[in-house]
Symmetry: C2
């Protein structure tokens, strides 16, 4: 694998028609420099989430080819689904993964956005770290009112696209392209039937209401399991560790007489987030990640002649 | 990196002469398919420990070239050092690392041993998993009495080499070649000045005296730090986890009024040993190592055209 890698998690407004999903995903298969790690279509949300890892140049080519397939097949004017969306290709976030910094991801997102708007005729809003207007750092602000409202409001100066336009693409809407940190989805399940408790704990721990930095959280009921869940996104585990989140949830739950039954890590997690936890739990002094065999192997130069 | 990898940790009876050490290590540098992860020379022990990762074919070529350098430079008849040894090249263990099983490492050790004895005129004893005689599974049995005694006893049937011989190489002695599992060196430091306590805990936890399976342990004093240490080797962390070892040492220490101050992991540790600990500590249900980003990246096919 290359030394310079991005993660990219494009979301498409199609979770039902298998043949369309196949055409959208096809450009990510067997292309040198691009690896399809996962793709998940949800019929209720009518949405497809693709997880990619790759190098900047081939990743952009594959994204454009995939976007063309989505734009030609998805018509937002007749699209229905539970998830908020503004476009056939709804969001494309770039995440710095290895050998690249956030500044590189920002620069990639912006230059890709310009080319994307030009080649697809779909206007682009830049969001999070790549935002050109501070109010667009928040993706929800960009997607406010969804396709149906944005179609009318796009002519307002405060809703003008960053690239392309002036109007939306008639059937494919617009696309939000951004750069963000790698995100860990960490769900904590409590032995309680009180969704209010989960929501209250979520409010206590999340950064936006003065809790732990780099933590987003909501509380939900898991009705069929008779449990409630604090559903957490950790946007930088080096600032707030999973253990710190868990400890705070445990303490808050205990005050209400509830207990953490189990947790879930949804999707991918960087090895060092877990290694950090293990080293702390095992009281290891002076631990260096260079001691982790598998990370060491992954870092070796690819100069071997691959004997059979 | 290749899909089929071994670790190999050859030990040489030279820890003092820098130019000899350089000549022994040189064959492991910049050779396709072989990676020199570490090498550590100890003057008191008069011993050099090299940590390699590589593919079977180039690894064997490099080991032979390195052995020739050691055999021509080291004379056991005048060698002195604290560490037990039978040869200029003392031991060569092969460890299955990725895409290979213990049976492959055993087969590699045996076929390499035959070639090694033939090409270097140094006789070989096969040990641990590669042993051809059950009593030679234990390396200490093979090395009993060291070079000085073995030189006299080599003509006894029970001490005959497995390959080469009948006598030892006059100056380079013999080499023990084997196959074993990856080993984690885990040291646990206690706030006590009583080396007897550390020795007693070591006896309690080690497999050989009925303690935890896959655990070897000795107790030592760390005089200059005013602490004692239980020095542990875990030979299979999937059987006994580091956490289980630590919990048992904590409990035994507590009975004597002592406490674990810190631990050390010496050398390399497989990521999954730590990931297992973290998942347990964080109460993660149904965790799959395929979710660990870095392991996933390391497993991706090397089919990318390496864009600049």
């Amino acid at each position: 694998m290359s030394r310079r890698l991005y993660e990219c998690v494009p979301n498409y407004s199609e979770g039902r028609r298998k043949e369309v999903i196949d055409r959208i995903v096809a450009p990510f298969r067997s292309r040198p420099g691009v690896h399809l790690l996962d793709h998940l279509a949800d019929a209720d949300h009518n949405r497809l989430v693709v997880t990619l890892v790759g190098q900047a140049v081939p990743l952009q080519e594959a994204l454009l080819e995939s976007a063309r397939a989505a734009i030609s097949a998805i018509d937002l004017r007749v699209h229905q689904g539970a998830h908020p969306r503004i476009g056939a290709v709804d969001v494309i976030p770039f995440v710095p993964l290895r050998g690249v910094a956030m500044a590189d991801a920002v620069s990639l997102a912006r230059s890709f956005a310009e080319r994307y708007a030009c080649e697809t005729c779909v206007p682009v809003y830049l969001y999070e770290e790549a935002a050109l207007r501070p109010e667009r750092r928040n993706l929800e602000a960009v997607r406010k009112g969804q396709f149906e409202t944005l179609r009318r409001e796009v002519s307002l100066p405060e809703r003008a696209p960053d690239f392309g336009g002036p109007g939306l693409h008639p059937s494919a809407g617009a696309t939000a392209i951004g750069a963000r940190q790698f995100l860990i989805a960490f769900n904590i399940n409590l032995d309680s039937a009180d969704a209010g408790l989960a929501r209250s704990i979520a409010r206590t721990i999340r950064a936006s209401s003065g809790g732990l930095p780099c933590v987003k959280a909501v509380g939900v009921a898991l009705a069929d399991r008779g449990l409630v869940q604090v559903s957490v996104n950790v946007t930088d585990y080096r600032v707030t560790s999973l253990h710190q989140v868990l400890q705070m949830v445990r303490a808050e739950a205990a005050r209400a007489g509830a207990r953490v039954v189990e947790t879930e890590i949804y999707g991918l997690v960087p090895a060092s987030a877990l290694i950090q936890e293990a080293a702390r739990d095992l009281q290891v002094a002076g631990f260096d990640e260079a001691q982790v065999l598998d990370l060491r192997l992954a870092d070796l130069p690819d100069r071997n002649g691959e004997c059979p």
